[in-house]
Structure formats: C-alpha cells, structure tokens
C-alpha cells in the first residue's frame, strides 16, 4: 500500500542538499552559512537512513550517528571561531572578512 | 584603648562545603513552620485593635449639644504641610439662638484626602478642638473628587465627641453673667 520508496526520500535529500548549498553560496551572514551547512548534513542523513532502511542494514543509520557527532563538533568550533571573529571585527558578514584580500 | 581582636574564620569542613546539611536544616525550619499558628488577621471580619493616639482620617466633630465647634480660624489650613485643607469662612447669622455668641463658622470645609499625610498637625493646632484624627483608616473611592471630603462628610465621619471643657457653654454663661473677657 505504501508507494513511497527510496527514490522519493532521495529527492527530498537532494532538494534539501541543494537548498543548503545555495545558502552556503549565496548568504553573506556567516551564521546562516553555518546553518546551511547543517542543512546539507541533514540532507545526507535523510539519504543515509533511507538507504539503510532500503537495504535492511544498520550501517547507514550508524553513519548518521557519526555525522551528528561531527556536526555537533563542527558547529561548536564554528561558533567559537565566529565569536572570536566578531570580537575582532564587530561583524559576521563574509564581505568584511577581507584580511587576506589583495 | 580598645583592642581589636581579629577572629580567625575556620575553613569550611567538607560537609559544610556541600551545603547539604545547611539545606536540610533550612528545609526543617520551613517545614516546622507549616504547622505553626498563623499570624494573619482575617481582615474584613477581624479588625485590628486601634491603639490610643492613632492618627486616622481627620474629621470635624460637634460638641455634646450638637453644635458646630469649628470657628473657621483657619489655623489648620495654615499649618497643614501638604495644604490639604481648604476653608471658606462664613458668618453665623445673628438670629441663631444657640451660636450667636460665636462670630464665624466654616461655610465650606474641605480636606483633600489625596494630599493628607495624616500628620495630625491640624488636630494639634486647633484651638477649639474641633478637628480630630479618628480611628478610620480605610478610605477609598472611584474618583479624585470622591476623595475630597467636604464639610458634610467630615461631620458625618466625626460625629460628636464628649467635650471635656464645654468651652462654649462656659463662654455663653460668662456672657450672660456679664463678665465677658
């Protein structure tokens, strides 16, 4: 009776991934760039769980677990860097981070 | 010469540093309070006992003969620190049998209770003992106007107090006997 299969979840994952990617590319607020990164990681999670369910194998789900760990570490370090940067430059916009330009 | 003694404060012991025994004893204290007799007064039913000399709402009083005591000398108006009292003096008509010996009586007498600070100066200064701060302590109203007590209200609240001196009666008899001062 269910007609939703792996490919539907994959489409969602790809959409979510591309949305996140667009955010990383287009947004200038570094906080939002970090959030978009999280979106991309989430898209991967969806795909992994769908595959894991499809192939009746825990490996994908376990990888989701690790991705979450990495994401948590990434966010904390990223935010700490942002705070440090903000203290120096009073801005969180990417176009103000031009120390290495020219 | 006073010698200052520096008290050594002992370092906290381990159990004291966790604060847990202290918390426990605090909990004990509050718990024992649960069952103690309550000290609250159930206000509208139970009234507090008013001590002597209490300064409540200022009122005007009449003498035992039901006569107005105030002669509108306006001393209270002058002495009132927040300027809450306003008196419009008025004459007593000549044909008033009872009170013709006094020259004046207030035509209007207003005390603004939004200003009054219950200091009791008016009572203290009144030569005729006509104004008293009585026991009434709860006063409320819906508008500012309502809280300006006019003469009628002041007399209504004041009522009649037993007069120790019967000043007017004395004055009247003195006058009748011809030895006016």
């Amino acid at each position: 009776m269910d007609t939703i299969g792996v490919q539907d979840f994959l489409v969602v994952a790809v959409l979510l991934f591309s949305v996140g990617f667009l955010g990383v590319v287009l947004r200038r607020n570094l906080l939002l760039v970090l959030m978009s990164l999280e979106l991309m990681l989430n898209a991967i999670n969806v795909a992994l769980v769908a595959f894991s369910r499809h192939s009746a194998n825990m490996d994908g789900s376990l990888f989701v677990f690790f991705i979450m760990t990495v994401a948590a570490a990434e966010v904390t370090v990223g935010l700490a860097l942002l705070v440090a940067l903000y203290k120096k430059r009073q801005s969180v916009f990417s176009e103000h981070m031009t120390l290495l330009k020219n | 010469m006073i010698k200052t003694v520096v008290m050594e404060r002992k370092p906290l012991s381990l159990s004291e540093r966790t604060y847990l025994p202290q918390i426990a004893s605090g909990l004990k204290t509050t718990f024992s309070n649960l069952f103690k007799k309550k000290v609250t007064l159930q206000y509208p039913e139970q009234r507090p006992s008013i001590p002597r000399g209490y300064r409540g709402v200022p009122t005007l009083v009449k003498d035992p003969n039901g006569r107005e005591k105030c002669v509108s000398c306006q001393l209270c108006e002058f002495v009132c620190p927040p300027k809450a009292i306003r008196i419009t003096p008025g004459h007593i008509p000549e044909d008033d049998e009872e009170r013709s010996h006094v020259e004046k009586a207030p035509e209007e007498f207003e005390i603004d209770m939004l200003r009054c600070i219950y200091c009791g100066y008016c009572e203290e200064v009144c030569p005729e003992e006509a104004i008293f701060l009585q026991e009434n302590y709860s006063l409320s109203g819906y508008s500012r106007e309502e809280l300006v007590n006019d003469k009628e209200k002041l007399y209504e609240m004041g009522g009649t107090l037993p007069d120790k001196h019967f000043k007017w009666d004395k004055k009247k008899t003195d006058e009748e006997q011809g030895n006016a001062h």
């Binding site: - | 605090g26 909990l27 204290t29 509050t30 309070n33 069952f35 103690k36 309550k38 000290v39 159930q42």
Partner: protein, 372 residues
C-alpha cells in the same frame, strides 16, 4: 484511510485530550498548592476567599473547601481570560504571540510517553497505561523537553526590552548546561536496569518501573544518581534556586516582563506543567512508579480496581514530589548566575561522570562475579 484506523485515531485523541486536561488541572492546582504552602510556611493562611455559590452553601464542607482555596485556580483562570490584553508597541508581534505556545506545547507533549499505571486483564496480560508506549521513553522526554527553552528564549527576545532579553539569554545557557548533567545522571539507572540478569528492556519507562516492583526502589540503589537528577530537574524546570530566567529581584519578571493577561497565564501554567511532568518522571525513574513500597508486593489485586489504585498511588507520589519542589522553593535563596554555571559545569557534570563510571565498573564486576 480505513474505518479501523480512524477509530483508533479518535480513541487516541480522546485519551490525549483527557490526559491534557488532567495534567493542566493538576498544574493549575499546583499553582494553588504553591500559594497555600508558601503561605503556611510564612505563617499566613493563603487564598481562602473564592466561593462557588452552590458548593460554598453546603454547611461545614463548603467553608472548609473555601478555606482551602479550592476554587481559586478557577478564578485565576477567569481573571487571566478577561484581563485587558496589552501588547507593548516595541515587541516583535509574531514571536511575541508564538512563544507562550512554544513554551506550553513541549511540556504537554512529554506526557504522551509517561506511563502512569498498568492494567492486568483476566488473562494476566499486562499493559502499561500510557498514550504511546515507545521504546525510547526517556530519550523522547529529554528531546521534547529540551525544546521548551525556545518559548522562554523567544519570549525574552521578542519582547525587545532588556530584562526579558537577559532572562532569555540566561535560560538558554542554563538549559544547555544542565541538560548534560541530567542525561548523564540517568544513564547509570538504565545501565543498572539493563544489566545482565536484570529485567529492564531498553529505554522504556514502563520497564524501569516494573523492574522496581517488589525490590528496592532505584532511589535506594542509586541515591547519588537520583540526587543529581533532582538537582538537574530543578534547573531544567527553572525552579528556585535556579530560576535564572525569571529571578524577579534582579530582572523584574525575567523573560515574561512584557507579558500580560492570558499569554502570561500560559507561561505560568507551562512552568507548573513542567514541574508536574518532572515530578512524574522522577517518580517513574526512582520512586517505583505505581508500585506500592520497596520490598513490598502490591497489596491490590490485578484488575481495573488494582490499576486504579496503582494510578492513585503514582499520583500520590508525584504530589509528594511536587510538594518537595514547593518546599525547596520557599526555603532556599537564589543562586547567582555565575554560581549556576559553575555548579553545572564544574560540579554536577564531573560528579555525574564519576557516578556513571562507578556504576559501569560495578555492573561489569557483578556480571563477572556471577559468571565465574
């Protein structure tokens, strides 16, 4: 969708509504209990004036109920409903309206996985009384209750004024800090219950309760875990001595300074709903849930009377814990903000870790000992 599914859905929705109303009324009466108990502890009598004309006219019982203030929550609710709704001009409207709801919903959602009793039918088949008997009970509760902080943070932020803002910031930091200690403090419990030779299964709350039947309650087995959990629970429910987001002496009213009328009422009820749910969770985890006493088998026979008594017993334990919450509130002063942070990170977290490691070693040792 077929009829059977619809029927089941309708039944679940009905159960959920009943449970919401029960929890909400318990929360309402917890407010009353707070006022009464604090009054008693301070030598006062507390609310004793509200009357319902019909009930209060009954001789003896009526005045007694009135003196207990039993109709006060009703009057409070009505007052909140009919108060003028003032929205300050400087607030962020959308979030301002959203945040009380966000504060209340997680508190009410966590109760779906909370087992409050069990029913044994004639065949001896036992089912726990719970809206959704999920395997992940405690994790689900942690996950959902961690969302409750958004109501406070958003409320503080959207008020666009400094005291609520400070309250919001404080509460977000506090929540993150104590969630860790809370999670770590219950891990030994599940470790113990799921150890080889024990009866527990997974993270389900019902199995935790049933593992305490006829033996020691977990509070006696693991007093230290229980203590840590209780402290973290106080912090997570924002109760004194940890009520940083509110702390009325330094932040006026904390995160809800700009709130009035019914929106404030929702915040208020949400706080107490958190207390009620928190107490219930503590009861399930450490106080044996609906089972009678440690080392004593349930005196009631299976069947619906037995399960009703069990639920009543569960509620009684929960109420005792709620009383404890109130009791502590009116005994202890408030921590300073830096003390809260220090306690969370430098004391509670290491202690929880040590506790966890101790029980890991103990469980392994016991397993080895029983194997050899």
């Amino acid at each position: 969708m077929d009829a059977e599914l619809m029927q089941m859905l309708a039944l679940k929705v009905t159960y959920a509504l009943v449970m919401v109303s029960v929890v909400m009324s318990i929360a309402g009466y917890t407010v009353l209990a707070e006022r009464k108990v604090c009054a008693w502890m301070q030598g006062r009598v507390g609310p004793n004036r509200t009357v319902l004309p019909f009930i209060s006219a009954i001789p003896f019982i009526g005045p007694f109920l009135r003196n207990l203030g039993l109709f006060q929550p009703l009057a409070d609710g009505l007052k909140f409903l009919f108060k003028e709704e003032i929205v300050p001009g400087h607030v962020n409207k959308f979030y301002y309206y959203l945040s009380p709801i966000v504060a209340l919903v997680p508190a009410l959602t966590t109760m779906t996985v909370l087992p409050f009793g069990e029913f044994t039918n004639a065949e001896g088949f036992t089912t726990p009384l719970v809206l959704a008997n999920v395997d992940l009970g405690i994790l689900f509760i942690f996950a959902i209750s961690s969302l409750g902080v958004y109501g406070i943070v958003l409320g503080g932020w959207s008020s666009n004024s400094k005291y609520p803002f400070l309250g919001g910031i404080r509460s977000s930091a506090q929540m993150i800090s104590y969630e860790l200690a809370m999670g770590l403090s219950v891990l030994p419990v599940f470790l113990w219950v799921n150890a080889p030779g024990m009866t527990g299964s997974g993270l389900s709350l019902a199995s935790i309760v049933n593992s305490q039947e006829g033996t020691a309650w977990l509070v006696l087995v693991q007093p230290f875990s229980a203590f840590l959990f209780l402290v973290a629970l106080f912090a997570e429910t924002n109760r004194l001595p940890f009520d940083m987001p509110e702390s009325e002496t330094d932040l006026v009213g904390g995160f809800h300074t700009e709130y009035g009328s019914f929106k404030f009422g929702i915040f208020f009820v949400a706080e107490y709903a958190h207390v009620v749910i928190g107490s219930a969770i503590f009861t399930t985890l450490f106080l044996g849930g609906w089972h009678f006493l440690p080392w004593v088998a349930d005196p009631w026979a299976p069947g619906w009377i037995g399960s009703l008594l069990g639920v009543g017993w569960f509620l009684a334990k929960t109420f005792c814990l709620i009383f404890f919450f109130i009791w502590v509130r009116w005994t202890l002063p408030r921590f300073r903000y830096d003390q809260v942070m220090k306690l969370g990170w430098a004391k509670l977290l290491p202690l929880a870790l040590v506790n966890l490691i101790f029980y890991m070693i103990l469980v392994t040792y016991l397993d080895q000992a029983s194997a050899s």
